[in-house]
């Protein structure tokens, strides 16, 4: 029964590598969006009976992660007129290799952690750790604000994956609150990125160097 779920997680992990390897910002946004949508439909695969609330959470996740946030980012990208993230702090090939190594590490680590019997066959923990690692790598390694926001989205996706382990036990209200908070966070980040673009006339965060010792 874990098979379709593991397939989806595998897909999400593959998208991590695409995100690390690409230099084009539109591709990066699309990867984050597709990954968000894949994550959104996972609760439907996990839950055996589709209650209204589960459907609601899934629909909200797909709409937010897959449509609303990416379109916000695309708009910011167009106004800033950037297409490629040139000169990243960590090059594309090194970050790809690091990401692949991180993925292997995540799988090994997940095998060593004590899991509940029903999660033994699942890739959830491995996928989660790999996505968190990918997100951090993008946050540190990329220089454009939008790429960093995408990194943050992938980091969040990884945490969401881990949250699926607890889906049966976390009250829906809490889950809804978490989802709402994360969405607002990304909105706020998007707005600030827009202001930075206006104030500095660039979205290159390496130019943000006024404040230092």
């Amino acid at each position: 029964m874990n098979h379709p779920l593991n397939l989806l997680i595998g897909l999400a992990m593959g998208l991590n590598l695409v995100a690390l390897g690409t230099s084009r910002v539109p591709t990066l946004i699309r990867v984050a969006a597709v990954q968000g949508m894949i994550l959104g439909i996972m609760p439907l695969v996990i839950e055996h009976e589709w209650r209204v609330t589960v459907l609601l959470v899934a629909a909200a996740t797909v709409a937010m992660k897959g449509v609303v946030i990416p379109s916000l980012l695309r708009r910011a990208m167009r106004t800033a007129n950037i297409d490629r993230d040139l000169d990243p702090l960590i090059g594309f090939l090194p970050s790809l290799l690091l990401g692949a190594a991180g993925m292997v590490g995540a799988v090994v680590l997940a095998r060593r952690l004590p899991l509940l019997p029903e999660h033994h066959e699942s890739l959830l923990v491995a996928g989660s750790l790999a996505s968190v690692f990918t997100g951090l790598l993008l946050l540190i390694g990329r220089s454009k604000a939008i790429s960093q926001v995408c990194g943050y989205l992938i980091l969040e996706n990884g945490i969401y994956l881990f949250g699926l382990l607890l889906i049966q036990s976390v009250p829906l209200m809490v889950e809804g609150g978490i989802l709402l908070d994360l969405t607002v966070a990304v909105f706020v980040i998007g707005i600030i990125a827009d202001r930075i673009q206006r104030a500095f006339d660039t979205l290159d965060t390496r130019k943000l160097t006024v404040l230092r010792e």
Binding site: Q148, I159, F162, L166, V174, G177, I178, D181, A185, I189
Partner: protein
């Protein structure tokens, strides 16, 4: 249910302020809501309500030991906010006032959160509500600071969510039924899966430690405190950090109940000492007096962490220090705001002779400096002395020595900057700039009150507070 008003009164005031059409009168929402909040918080301090065992939000002993300090600080900041926003009449405060009030309501919620998920939601919401406060000045520097705050703070808070999930999984793995209230988790105790508890502890300490500003996760702090208006800096340094400290303490109690208390104490000790060291070294080279306050805040977070690591008397002293830190930092930030406004500069290269231009604020700033560097008879002296004593009593003599050395270095760093800007000849720029700034009673009284409170805490700590801190220590480490 009176305690829930602590959350809803400020949020309601925030909503009303957002709808209020007049820019001139809107700031009055700040003191009005703050006064109601302070009366409620102190009423509950004197007559604590019974916290139901499994309630998600409650005014339990831990909340009681810390939230009134935040409320008091907010009241003084709110009183300062009215004249401050009048000086800044050129900027619309339609976002600032509601965001500031919302931050108070959400901070109350985070203090009162007794559920792992609710705690995270409230803390994240506090982070987000303070974003509009940080870039109120609307300069490129302010946006740069906000961006760093969002990215570093956002990553930290994301890691604490992952940590919360790990702790939840530890409970499930140990046969839990999905009860994620802290009391429920503590009751499960040794039943929690140990590897998952340890992973959760690391992630949650990094996550909430970022919010607190413990080194090495403190990098957002100097930028944010340097660019934010004085009242926001005071609120961040005295209020938001306290929220994060409460979160760390709540999680630590669970880790201790799970039988990993030694690991938790050791990490808190190391990270606390490291924070004081980093802060002391940066203070020695600081040139900007608002960024200097940020490093001083890192130092005091280190002190809190050290006190918490020692447990028992040390933890009691940490609660004491939370109050002292809120009061003294508040007074320093507000008087620094006055000086900054009158001087038109912020580094020791641009500013000097402020004792001539703003004699009252300069006097306050110097007195605040002595308070914050733990000179008797101010409150911080007594709380830090107690922490040092408890370090010796628990055979952590080397930690106490290291700690005292760092405090000495920090003292040198702080006095160097403060005396450089206060004494000497006033710069021409400051004489010509901003003739509107007058040291009126309205901008002097709030920092004076905060400083007097710090003095009062040191000279005559009220018995009700002593009792509240003792109760909080008992809540966190119940003796079997």
């Amino acid at each position: 249910m009176k305690e829930l008003l602590l959350i809803f009164v400020p949020l309601l005031a925030a909503g009303l302020a957002a709808l209020w059409p007049y820019n001139r009168t809107r700031p009055w929402f700040l003191p009005a809501a703050a006064l109601a909040h302070a009366l409620l918080a102190f009423g509950l301090l004197l007559q604590p309500p019974a916290a139901p065992f499994h309630a998600w939000l409650g005014y339990d002993p831990l909340t009681r030991a810390m939230l009134p300090a935040v409320s008091l600080l907010f009241l003084c900041c709110a009183a300062y906010g009215v004249p401050y926003l009048r000086l800044r009449a050129e900027r619309s405060n339609r976002v600032f006032v509601p965001a500031f009030l919302a931050a108070l309501g959400l901070m109350s919620a985070a203090h009162m959160a007794r559920h792992l998920g609710v705690l995270w939601i409230a803390t994240e919401a506090v982070t987000l509500s303070s974003v509009p406060l940080l870039h109120f000045n609307n300069t490129p520097r302010a946006f740069e600071a906000t961006w760093k705050y969002l990215l570093v703070g956002g990553t930290g808070i994301a890691l604490s969510l992952l940590g919360s999930f790990c702790l939840g999984y530890a409970s499930l793995h140990g046969g839990g039924t999905g009860d994620l209230t802290f009391t429920g988790l503590m009751a499960q105790g040794a039943g929690l899966s140990r590897p998952w508890v340890l992973i959760a502890w690391v992630l949650l300490l990094v996550g909430y430690g970022t919010k607190m500003g413990l080194a090495p996760m403190h990098t957002w702090k100097p930028d944010a405190y340097g660019e934010a208006p004085g009242i926001v800096g005071a609120m961040l340094a005295g209020g938001v950090t306290t929220v994060a400290f409460t979160a760390v303490l709540r999680v630590r109690a669970v880790v201790e109940a799970a039988g990993a208390g030694v690991v938790a104490s050791r990490t808190l000790l190391v990270i606390g000492l490291f924070s004081t060291l980093v802060a002391a070294l940066f203070l020695l080279s600081a040139r900007d007096f608002k960024r200097m306050l940020a490093y001083s805040s890192v130092e005091h977070m280190g002190i809190l962490s050290l006190g918490a690591a020692l447990g028992g008397v040390g933890l009691w002293a940490a609660f004491f220090h939370v109050w002292n830190n809120s009061m003294t930092k508040g007074s320093l930030f507000l008087s620094a705001g006055n000086i900054r406004r009158a001087a038109g500069g912020r580094t020791i290269d641009e500013v000097s002779g402020m004792s001539v231009i703003t004699p009252r604020s300069a006097a306050l700033f110097v007195t605040g400096l002595f308070a914050v560097t733990a000179c008797p008879p101010f409150g911080p002296f007594f709380s830090e002395l107690l922490i040092v004593k408890s370090a010796f009593a628990t055979a952590h003599g080397w930690a106490a020595g290291f700690f005292l050395a760092c405090l000495l270095l920090a003292f040198f760093g702080l006095t160097r900057v403060v005396f450089a800007i206060v004494y000497g000849r006033p710069r021409q720029a400051a004489r010509e700039l901003d003739p509107r700034f007058r040291e009126t009673l309205a901008v002097i009284l709030p920092p004076v009150v905060l400083l007097l409170l710090s003095l009062w805490l040191g000279l005559a700590t009220p018995d009700v507070l002593r009792e509240a801190w003792t109760a909080a220590v008992q809540q966190l480490s119940p003796t079997p």
